[in-house]
């Protein structure tokens, strides 16, 4: 029972960051229909940015975190404007290839700049965990969870309570009509990609002090992001959020009770099952056509 | 003398999308050798009917019967295998292929080459290929597109693309051909040519059900006309009768209009 509770707690905390990743990708995937292979790299980038600010430049941790997220947003915007906008309207292969090319280039640049040796980021939180009855959790992880929830709520507010968000939702539902109604599609796409990338970078920056930072860390994150998007349904904000938690729970319990080696496989098996039995995602209401 | 069984019987067909009723309790027959036109204002449900008959949509109730077999639940390719072929309202060709290749693809049903046959290049298969190519040429001559068989389908003028669609549909050896607005985008002389073509298609033992807006085509080719409005059939009969039917006129022109 104690173990069970601990797993639940771990899953909740991990789920928060997974939710960030998933929401970021589902927005991009849903609104822009782009298979975003750079999502994992933005995750890595966020982590490296935090490392750079906090460890190399000595910035205050919390400021560094904010800066890392901002850098993620900027990189996302840059990627969209430089790489995606010129090929807008090309078929999905072309876009896919460009994204793959960008993914390769980004990961190699990271490797080149910081080398393959894993880096760690010092956390300003006390090392001793907080113990509540049978479960223990470190302050650092509580912080991660709190910020993740904050960002999720903030993104939701952005999408549902601002004009920008309204335009994004309109573009998601019907791009042509939205354009006819005066929505500047180009700007929306840049904003969407920037937002999604920023969330991925945030996830990376938040987890950097918890784990270690190395160039290929984004690959697993990217694949999990895809899994979450499928679980939740394309473009479905809360679906992705729930999907993030579900994936974390499946992984935690799968790793805990079945086998830890197959931990990363849990997500994939899950999505294959979902796609066979409920291709529109666990939460989607509208019928999706692939 | 008893009525010969209809080639196509639509029986109480209904399709709705959520709360929106697209077609409602649609019932009519098409007899072998006939040319029947399905007309009605935009949004009346004509293309939805085609989609429901040919397996692209599943009806909510009712059924389509081809030679007595229900078509419900069958996939479009299975329905084509029975001999029911449809064309599409929005121009639909294999854009990246040439005119000749388009028709050759349409002749798929006429071939039987298997994977093993393809890999081993058996003599029967090579003979079959030759026959298919001859058939493709014949069809192109029939439809009038034989002058530039190596042109890419996407490079053809709009009217000729519509003709190519019909050729591709014919290639699949239909007994019943459903044409969805085949004359749309054609200029008057092309339209007249098309009207003549329809009679020649019927002479190849093909029964035709077509959806059309162009009244010249409808009046020129149809044995019978079925009028659809807001998902319901409001009239059916000979073209001349339909033209004068007040319900029909009202549907097209709105209430309060005096008939021509």
């Amino acid at each position: 029972m104690d173990q069970f509770l601990q797993h639940v707690l771990n899953a909740l905390i991990l789920g928060g960051t997974y939710a960030l990743l998933g929401i970021g990708l589902t927005l991009i995937f849903g609104i822009m229909r782009v298979v975003n292979f750079t999502h994992g790299e933005l995750y890595t980038f966020g982590a490296y940015m935090l490392f750079m600010f906090v460890m190399s430049m000595g910035t205050n941790f919390f400021l560094g975190l904010v800066l890392a997220i901002v850098m993620g947003v900027l990189l996302g915007a840059l990627t969209e404007v430089v790489l995606l906008r010129p090929i807008r309207g090309a078929d999905i292969d072309t876009t896919m290839l460009v994204m793959i090319g960008a993914w390769i280039a980004m990961q190699s640049l990271e490797q080149f700049t910081w080398s393959g040796v894993a880096k760690s980021v010092n956390s300003p939180f006390p090392v001793d965990p907080l113990v509540i009855g049978p479960v223990s959790v470190s302050w650092g992880r509580i912080f991660v969870f709190a910020v993740a929830i904050l960002l999720i709520v903030g993104s939701h507010a952005l999408i549902h309570r601002t004009r920008l968000g309204k335009a994004m939702r309109a573009t998601f539902q019907d791009r042509e009509t939205a354009a006819l109604m005066g929505v500047k599609i180009n700007q929306i796409y840049t904003a969407t990609f920037a937002l999604g990338s920023g969330l991925a970078a945030a996830a990376g920056a938040l987890l950097a002090p918890v784990f270690v930072v190395y160039p290929t860390m984004g690959d697993a994150a990217a694949l999990k992001s895809f899994a979450i998007v499928i679980l939740g349904g394309l473009g479905n904000f809360w679906g992705a959020a729930m999907g993030g938690f579900i994936l974390a729970i499946v992984e935690e319990f799968g790793a805990g009770y079945i086998s830890s080696g197959y931990r990363d496989a849990m997500g994939f098996v899950l999505i294959i099952l979902v796609l066979i039995f409920k291709p529109t995602g666990l939460f989607a209401q509208k019928e999706r056509v692939g | 003398m008893s009525q010969p069984e209809a080639l196509l019987r639509i029986d109480g067909l209904s399709v709705h999308f959520g709360g929106l009723v697209a077609i409602s309790d649609m019932t009519f027959d098409v007899h072998e050798g006939e040319i029947v036109s399905l007309i009605g204002p935009n949004g009346a449900g004509k293309t939805t009917a085609f989609n429901a008959i040919t397996g692209y949509l599943q009806p909510n109730s009712g059924q389509s019967l081809y030679r007595g077999h229900s078509l419900n639940g069958l996939k479009p390719n299975q329905i084509a295998d029975l001999g029911v072929v449809r064309t599409f309202q929005k121009t639909s060709v294999f854009a990246g292929n040439t005119v000749f290749e388009n028709v050759l693809i349409g002749l798929h049903r006429r071939g039987s080459q298997s994977l093993a046959g393809a890999l081993l290049r058996l003599p029967e298969m090579r003979a079959e290929e030759r026959q298919l190519r001859e058939a493709a040429t014949e069809l192109l001559v029939f439809i009038g597109l034989d002058k530039r068989p190596d042109e890419f389908a996407s490079a053809l003028p709009y009217g000729e693309q519509r003709l190519l669609e019909v050729a591709v549909g014919l290639a699949a050896q239909p007994r019943l051909l459903l044409l969805d607005e085949p004359a749309s985008g054609m200029n008057p002389s092309e339209t007249q040519d098309f009207v003549n073509m329809v009679a020649r298609i019927r002479a190849r033992d093909v029964t035709i059900l077509l959806v059309e807006h162009d009244m010249r085509v409808v009046m020129g080719v149809s044995d019978r006309v079925v009028v659809l409005n807001q998902g319901k059939i409001i009239a059916q009969g000979a073209p001349a009768v339909i033209q004068r039917d007040p319900e029909v006129i009202r549907a097209y022109l709105g209430t309060g209009a005096s008939h021509a």
């Binding site: 790489l83 999905i92 292969d93 896919m96 290839l97 793959i100 090319g101 960008a102 993914w103 390769i104 280039a105 980004m106 190699s108 490797q111 080149f112 895809f226 394309l234 197959y262 990363d264 496989a265 994939f268 294959i272 796609l275 066979i276 291709p279 056509v289 692939g290 | 397996g55 996939k75 479009p76 390719n77 299975q78 084509a80 072929v85 449809r86 599409f88 639909s92 060709v93 294999f94 854009a95 990246g96 292929n97 693809i105 798929h108 049903r109 071939g111 080459q113 994977l115 046959g117 393809a118 890999l119 290049r121 290929e129 190596d150 042109e151 490079a155 591709v168 549909g169 290639a171 699949a172």
Partner: protein, 342 residues
């Protein structure tokens, strides 16, 4: 492309060992050749059938592992039963690899085609990841990260020397060349047949293809099985040449390499994967001299993006266009031309 081109190319490659003594370069050609076979197989699925399959390395790896295990023999416990397989002759194990890969292809074909577009991409990627993790964790069977090693090389009966074991590079080179030629020809026959037309039809316009009686699911599954089986053959060649196989063979980066080869070379063309395979098989070797590994990859990433921007159809279609323009230019002798177009 002219009827004699394939023979000419085959001849040229067959002659290479006669004038190129450098064993290292031969090695490069062998590994490139293996990748070319994989790229040819991927091209059927990605290029001709238009399916965004990004898990192709799974078929390659399953073929490799199955062939390795077949030739090494294995014993494994499944649900309480112990399965013992004695080492088999390499050629038999190789067949086993092809069949295993083909079966995987059938499985993927059946489940993946319930979902299309971007979802299909994700399923295929996930499948490859799951297979990798199985290879990594099912240590009883696959030795996990310790790798299967001492895999025997190919042994064939050859006229003149009897039972020959392919220890050296030369016979392996010719083996790969022969298999590549066979793969090329098989794909060519499919593509130029009624089946190939059906595949292209469903890539170009699926509703229209269905309306003329083409059973989409059936043809998608055929394409996947054939594609997977050929990839499995490439995997088998790999395993008996390199003679070590570990779960890293399933890394996504190898799928990416194959995809790059196909798309840069020209997807949906017969020679595209060959050109792409040669380019991305040999280019790294030249780059290796001048740049660090990370810089190499940056160059790939950037060159991929550039090719996509400037030659979106890939290299072969651009070459064909130039060739066609050249042949039909006004200054050339008056020949019957394809009218219009271009």
């Amino acid at each position: 492309m002219s009827r004699y081109m394939p023979w000419l190319v085959l001849l040229i490659f067959a002659s290479v060992p006669l004038w190129m003594q450098d064993q290292y370069f031969l090695h490069i050609l062998i590994t490139s050749g293996i990748f070319i076979i994989a790229a040819i197989s991927l091209n059927l699925l990605l290029g001709y059938t238009g399916q965004l399959s990004l898990g192709h390395v799974a078929f390659f790896g399953i073929g490799a592992y199955a062939s390795a295990l077949g030739s090494l023999g294995f014993d494994v416990e499944i649900f309480g039963y112990i399965l013992v397989v004695e080492p088999k002759p390499v050629w038999l194990a190789f067949m086993f690899g092809i069949v295993a890969a083909g079966l995987a292809g059938w499985f993927i074909g059946k489940i993946s085609f319930k979902v299309r577009g971007a979802y299909f991409v994700i399923v295929t990627i996930s499948f490859a990841e799951v297979v990798r993790l199985v290879a990594l964790n099912w240590i009883d069977l696959t030795e996990g990260p310790m790798a299967l090693n001492n895999i025997p090389p190919v042994t064939l009966w050859l006229p003149g020397s009897g039972e020959t074991t392919f220890w050296r590079k030369l016979p392996n080179y010719y083996l790969v060349l022969v298999v590549a030629a066979i793969a090329f020809e098989l794909i060519r026959r499919i593509v130029q047949s009624r089946i190939g037309r059906a595949l292209v039809a469903l890539r170009e316009n699926e509703p229209l293809a269905m309306s003329v009686g083409i059973d989409v699911t059936r043809y998608l599954v055929i394409a996947t099985i054939v594609s997977a089986a050929i990839a499995g053959a490439a995997g088998g060649l790999y395993t008996h040449y390199v003679r070590i196989v570990d779960p890293d063979i399933f890394l996504f980066i190898y799928t990416v390499t194959m995809v790059i080869m196909v798309i840069v070379g020209g997807k949906g063309t017969l020679w595209g994967p060959v050109v792409g395979g040669l380019l991305f098989g040999i280019m790294p070797e030249f780059l290796r001299e001048v740049a660090a590994p990370e810089v190499q990859w940056i160059i790939y990433g950037v060159s991929m993006i550039l090719i996509v921007f400037f030659l979106p159809q890939g290299i072969m279609p651009a070459v064909s266009r130039v060739w066609r323009d050249f042949r039909y230019s006004p200054s050339a002798s008056a020949q019957t031309t394809k009218e219009g177009g271009g």
